[in-house]
Assembly symmetry: C2
Homo-oligomer: 672 residues x 2
């Protein structure tokens, strides 16, 4: 007989009004191949080297060794199974263990592809592709991360030998944090200040061999190693490393020369656009969006399923004899619970779409860029920076929210949500610290505003389209009466665009009033968030109108529309402080007289009422919405989020299996 928890999930699936498999195909469309993914996962699942259960028990050294075995096996499988590069990347992601090898694929190789001249690519790309060399991207130093212009590693051209000579002149110039450098890499692309004839030409990229291809020993003049464990035991199998250079010589041909070039006599050719060297960073950011979205999807799958199986507190309103009396209530049915989960499910859906958009935009820009056309660079940089901050912060926050919603058992590693948080947490800091990126997004928005004020008829780019709400400015506060008025897409767009515009206008005035830029970081963060939300809400509404995106078609069309509206209204709810501060919505003080019931709702109560009503519509669909993400039990690796439930049985069985893990300690305890 199935357990109560299995029955609870089966019943929840009966109320779902769409086919999660069809929706899964739509979600994957344009970004991942569900069938291929399934095939690849089946291979991993069948091999012990990919087993996940023991990782949390391992020492750091064991975990690293296990990671190296995974890396080697993945490369072997390419040959054995005839996997193409896409299949291999899918396997790398599905192994669910961040590795130094990932950095070869997402950081080193793309830089080689984007920054090398055609001749250099012809030599190095094949070696990258067949893993003859494994590389890392060496930018960050102990003393400098965000501030690339102040990197201290030097690369001095010696025309007598036509070589560059690399040095680490200070402690703070030590390369640091570099993923893959600690143990794995044979080569690195090093950001170093180019010195030509005594002149500092600023940071450039150099390909440096770090270790022998014979015996993997460090090359002369190079010191390198691992930097040590990360917080929360996160990314324990990634060999983040450090390196120092002492007169390391590389041939002239190993300066990455797509855009900048040094001739044999030391003459410098300038890149056509001084930001071209940052294309690589934009690539990493662009692919982070979709990747982060799917991590959130995994976390909400676990949490949603578990909270359907957990029961707590009988309904005190029922009388003895009434149906359901004494039976405890499914925790998911508490508004305090589903109102925490649903916004995160909606975020996962919206971010998956945003990830596809971002990938499209990046590819358009990259193909232009490779022919020297940088016209899309500013827009792509602005959008990718805004989305990176917004999605990384949203995913980290969302994962932790759904973990806390799970109560005590969410704190058990076997639940499977905690490790998602730990591994994604650094995304708010790496590839551009969010705080710094917020400033850049705000600066770019200020430019758009001043262009707009100067020539209001100018065509607005997608990232600044929200400004159109200012012409003509509606009369404020907006009149919003019934909860259902918040269902109007026009009103939604107006609210979120006004909020972005007013925030930006305030920043502009503060700048104009003589405030220093560095004093305005609070306002910059708000502006960055506001304009990114305006961008996303507009995109989602365009998707509704059938212009683009998966959400307007096929399976669960209605539910996805409701889900997207919930996302938008939840976003508006989070923006309430600004909406009130800017006088866009009117306040609604509650009456203090306990004897009267007010007849009309304030705008905010109406908004919350509508949100609550949308959530109730989605409650019977929740398990379907997470099933549609299509994760198998092996992928989730969760004792409490399995497709068939049985959280308690699984937790207890795992604990019993682990008894022998502490035999030695039980013995030790006896002698205490």
């Amino acid at each position: 007989m199935p357990s109560q928890s299995t029955i609870d999930l089966q019943n929840a699936r009966k109320t779902v009004s769409f086919d999660p498999k069809v929706l899964n195909r739509l979600l994957n469309e344009g970004s991942r191949d569900g069938e291929m993914r399934k095939r690849v996962v089946e291979v991993l699942e069948s091999e012990e080297v990919f087993a996940k259960g023991k990782r949390a028990y391992m020492s750091r050294k064991e975990r690293m060794a296990a990671g190296l075995r995974i890396s080697r096996r993945l490369m072997e499988l390419c040959d054995e199974k005839g996997w193409d590069y896409t299949e291999y990347l899918e396997a790398l992601a599905s192994a669910d263990e961040p590795l130094g090898l990932n950095l070869h694929e997402v950081a080193f190789q793309p830089v080689i592809a984007a920054q090398c001249s055609d001749e250099q690519q012809a030599i190095w790309l094949p070696k990258c592709m067949n893993h003859e060399i494994l590389g890392c991207y060496m930018q960050t130093e102990l003393g400098h991360g965000s501030n690339v212009q102040q990197l201290e590693t030097t690369s001095t051209y010696d025309p007598s030998t036509e070589e560059f000579v690399l040095n680490s002149p200070t402690v703070s110039s030590t390369k640091w944090w570099i993923g893959g450098l600690g143990i794995l890499a044979t080569h690195g692309v090093v950001q170093a200040r180019l010195f030509l004839k005594g002149r500092d030409m600023g940071p450039h990229l150099f390909l440096v061999q770090l270790r022998s291809l014979e015996d993997h020993s460090l090359m002369p003049g190079i010191e390198a190693g691992e930097i040590g464990p990360k917080v929360h035991g996160a990314m324990a199998a990634v060999d983040n490393g450090w390196a120092r250079f002492s007169s390391v010589r590389i041939p002239r041909s190993q300066m990455l020369a797509r855009f900048a070039h040094v001739s044999s006599d030391g003459t410098y050719s300038k890149p056509p656009h001084d930001k071209l060297a940052y294309g690589g960073m934009i690539f990493i950011r662009a692919q982070m969006i979709g990747s982060l979205a799917w991590r959130l999807a995994k976390a909400v799958t676990i949490s949603t399923r578990y909270l359907h199986t957990r029961r707590q507190f009988a309904n005190p309103e029922l009388q003895k004899g009434e149906a359901g009396y004494g039976v405890e209530r499914q925790v998911i049915t508490y508004p305090g619970v589903y109102m925490r989960l649903l916004p995160q499910i909606s975020r996962a859906y919206v971010f998956i779409t945003a990830g596809k958009d971002m990938a499209d935009l990046y590819h358009s820009m990259a193909s232009q860029l490779s022919s020297g056309d940088a016209s899309l660079l500013a827009e792509t940089h602005a959008v990718s920076s805004g989305l990176k901050t917004y999605v990384s912060a949203g995913v980290v926050d969302g994962v932790e929210n759904v973990r806390r919603a799970m109560g005590g058992h969410g704190f058990l590693d076997a639940s499977g949500v905690g490790r998602i948080f730990a591994n994604e947490l650094p995304s708010v800091t790496y590839e551009g610290d969010n705080y710094i990126l917020h400033l850049q997004v705000a600066r770019s928005a200020l430019k758009s505003l001043s262009t707009f004020f100067a020539t209001p008829t100018t065509t607005l780019s997608p990232s600044s389209a929200y400004l159109s709400v200012l012409h003509p400015l509606p009369s404020l506060p907006l009149a919003v009466f019934a909860p259902s008025s918040f269902l109007s897409p026009a009103l939604q767009l107006q609210l979120i665009s006004l909020r972005a515009s007013f925030g930006l206008a305030r920043l502009a005035r503060l700048v104009q009033s003589g405030k220093k830029w560095s004093e305005l970081s609070h306002e910059c963060v708000e502006v960055s968030k506001g304009v990114t939300e305006a961008f996303l809400v507009r995109r989602m509404l365009e998707a509704v109108e059938g212009q683009a995106g998966l959400l307007s078609r096929g399976a669960g069309k209605k539910e996805q529309e409701v889900l997207r509206t919930l996302y938008i209204l939840h976003t508006i709810e989070s923006a309430l402080p600004s909406l009130l501060e800017f006088g866009i919505l009117a306040p609604s003080p509650p009456s203090l007289d306990p004897s009267t019931t007010s007849s009309s709702l304030g705008a905010l109560e109406a908004l919350r009422e509508q949100l609550s009503s949308l959530a109730k519509q989605l409650l019977p669909e929740m398990v379907g919405l997470v099933d549609a993400f299509g994760f198998g039990d092996w992928e989730l690796d969760s004792a409490v989020g399995r497709y068939d439930g049985e959280p308690y049985e699984t937790m207890l069985a795992r604990a019993k299996k682990d008894l022998d893990a502490n035999v030695g300690n039980v013995e030790a305890r006896k002698t205490m």
Copy 2:
């Protein structure tokens, strides 16, 4: 020659206008003995068994074994050094490694002391004190945590043998999460439903021997073990365990009988107050406040020092030739950085005071309670619940905030802040899930409101004193013009009290309008936060007025007042959404016309201006304010937060020392 970072910290200490040592004594006063603490720490520091550096490299089993060695050594040291119980507890805390042993001290022994009859205490307390037995407190089950009334473990009285028979009737009745149960404990206090003559008397407490005192083997009928790793590798040396009972018999004398009692023939005597059994939980919550506060203090110490030594970006406003041109700026001097740190420093100070208050309140209640007087129980429960949710959430959030402010290096375990977060994270869930406690706090506040409306002349308890702001209600919105008007304590108290009262009034009206309690969790959370903040702000202002607390006296008096005002204004800033929504403060829309500069500040801009001005006053005092917490380098165990700075040198030295930790893996890599 000292390094730049050491000079930066030395210079920062020169600007401090008070003596951190004197302030340290005041902070410790009434809660901890700084001199004794120092003595104890010196002992730990001198013994290899307490070394912290290798923990992050260990397997789970090694970490647990190391924890057992620490436990044994601490107990030995009591004899060797003649430590009294307070010194021993200080050592246990200073070992900086959560252990199963902690649960013996903070959970098991207090329950024995509070819930046993005098005769029982005479037998068991000495065994607890001299560690002849080690115990755990067994409440949570797989199926039930917050909902004590639905616990499933049974304890059936058998009058024929005068024994209780314990059973675990279902999988979900398995005791779970119990700290100290996995390996360490010989005894447990078990929450189980008492069955007398076939009648279910609800949960009661029973003392059960779990393991033999001879060979530590499990007693007949008991299955038990460890539940497995926690998220983020947190509390890896705590043996959280599970247990199942199969007809386990204990003598009648082992039902904890201070308040409830079963006679030999199975007749039940009722406890005088049905909540008396929860005294133990209140104790744990009460002591959590101060303990959490000091953890935040440690995190801000590390972050503040590091951010004084980190330099990033030269000032672009300086011209070549001007002093400071080209020199990078200390990161701490960016408003975006110090405005993130200072609120957390102020929280640490305020929470330390709140911890002392809470301890005082608990002791008053406990001494009343031991003589059967429960008159303080409701107030103590309300205050401890409110503070527990508020302080745990605030500390977890604060620690993570200051870690993120550190940028990339904050993600390195060696920085020392991440592990504070991981270990404190469960505090939002254990000892009462914050979400559930919020509901209880809100319910208690509703009672106070209805009493107040019925008889406004009633004397308000400290936890509901904020309601006095309603008589007479000031005219709204409040007129606030200049930034300095926010310095008025009367205005501060009015704002925060109005916000609490209006939020509560809205909740009351929603309840009255027929909304179900379970639909109101969002409002309950807001109410709980609002009334707790009102309570804290009032307490802090009382401290100013010289009525109580350390903040009004001695060292750094002015700085502490500024710090407390910053805390209050930061709290008001966080409450802005409600202050605007309730019409307590007026909105301040920015002008959209870029050519004009508005002449007057809105209330919100004035508030931010005042906050910023307070922060600037505190900037030169920051290092002094964290030095005053008095943590030594060994206690901080941070590569980047040392008293003398040198973060880069220390990080690199640690990494070089760790080279051998991966020798085997480097070998493995060679054969890849």
